[in-house]
Symmetry: none
Subunit: 230 residues, 2 copies
Amino acid sequence: MSNINILIVEDEAAIRGMLTIVLEQAGFSPIAAAEVDSAQKILADTFPDLILLDWMLPGISGVEWARRLKKDPSYRELPIILLTARGEEEDKVRGLEIGADDYLTKPFSPKELVARIRAVLRRSGKLQGGTQIVLGNLILDTEQHRLTIGEKQLDVSPTEFRLMQFFMTHPDKVFSRTQLLDQVWGRSVYIEERTVDVHIRRLRKILGDYGKEELVQTVRGFGYRFSLID
Amino acid sequence: MSNINILIVEDEAAIRGMLTIVLEQAGFSPIAAAEVDSAQKILADTFPDLILLDWMLPGISGVEWARRLKKDPSYRELPIILLTARGEEEDKVRGLEIGADDYLTKPFSPKELVARIRAVLRRSGKLQGGTQIVLGNLILDTEQHRLTIGEKQLDVSPTEFRLMQFFMTHPDKVFSRTQLLDQVWGRSVYIEERTVDVHIRRLRKILGDYGKEELVQTVRGFGYRFSLID
DNA sequence: TTTGAGTGTGACGAATTTATTACAGACTAA
DNA sequence: TTAGTCTGTAATAAATTCGTCACACTCAAA
């Protein structure tokens, strides 16, 4: 269960399905959209680490959308890989001009796709050899599956670990219970929203043992936030 | 100038040549044969450390030869990596049945080839620079096949030894049961995941006799970790 | 102060995951 | 061959985790 989310935007259902399967098998968490409109919605409440974008799309074209995203400060850092039709050299050039991070010419092999994705992620620092997330004196090491606070090791359950991992990679941001369920539990399970509260409680209890209870903050009416600042 | 001899058996001259070059560059000493007959001769008077064997061969097929070798006591230990054509899943299954140590699906990258070869050689103990791995007061000597803790020598079975070897070369890192099976048992065998648990248990028991039971740690939901730290 | 929605908390049973044991077949050395 | 070891698997036990619920508490608007 990687938490590398990849947003696929592709109108052809067959290719979309193929991409989804390939990415899943490669250990990513893909989300697919058929056109820009729904992609935009997904973008709003999920937090993809990379977008795989078809060049030709009905309605707003992929290029056009990419151009917009690259102009938007809050999405500028989000890597985009364009999928172009065979041999349209010109497109490639234009694609890179608008700031796409890579392009891939159809047809491509699954292997190549995954390799390119990894390369881009690595370049943007999201896929690192260094597997540590450091926040203050909190260290979460995904490779060792360890959560330490100062010198002390915290004993957390798998779900708590994933929750912490998500929080620590998105500090200072408020997330609704639904968003947390989507991100930490996965989009495909249905679970009561209140369950999040319980897990938050458990996390706070553990953190509280080390005087760090206030790291997880309640934002009444919205959800929770993880932050070093009060 | 390695003394690792690798016997290549491949009928297509182009691929044979490519393999030879790749292996040479990787520091191995390749010897190539176009079919089983000449391979058999080479086998008789040179002593390869590993065979890279094409699945499809004129005359006796690669599989058939592999099967024979694996039955012959004097060659049983000789690792074999099968080269299979793309997507022939069935072949893989048969490949592992006859006891191949790994398989590689064409086309493959030189990098992957070399990595797999190294892995297999390491697993069979033939690739070791310094033969000792030292961790705390634990010493694992791959050449003498010995595991000592302080002054005491531990009596471990072959599988336990390989498991320890893998753990000691990758300390502090969590591995899933699948990863352990791939790395310690080999990619081409199908074994129940639970079997790992049993071997872990056996290892712990042995280590426990010397007060080192806690070296192998359970990471619930993920797998196991070998670490000197709690 | 009242009221109701939003949140915190402890408990519980079910589900999941891991540990342990026993056993049969394969293999090895004598 | 034979006794003994090694290994994978299945069965069972033990431990942990997880989602829900019921009820207590908070907060803010009226």
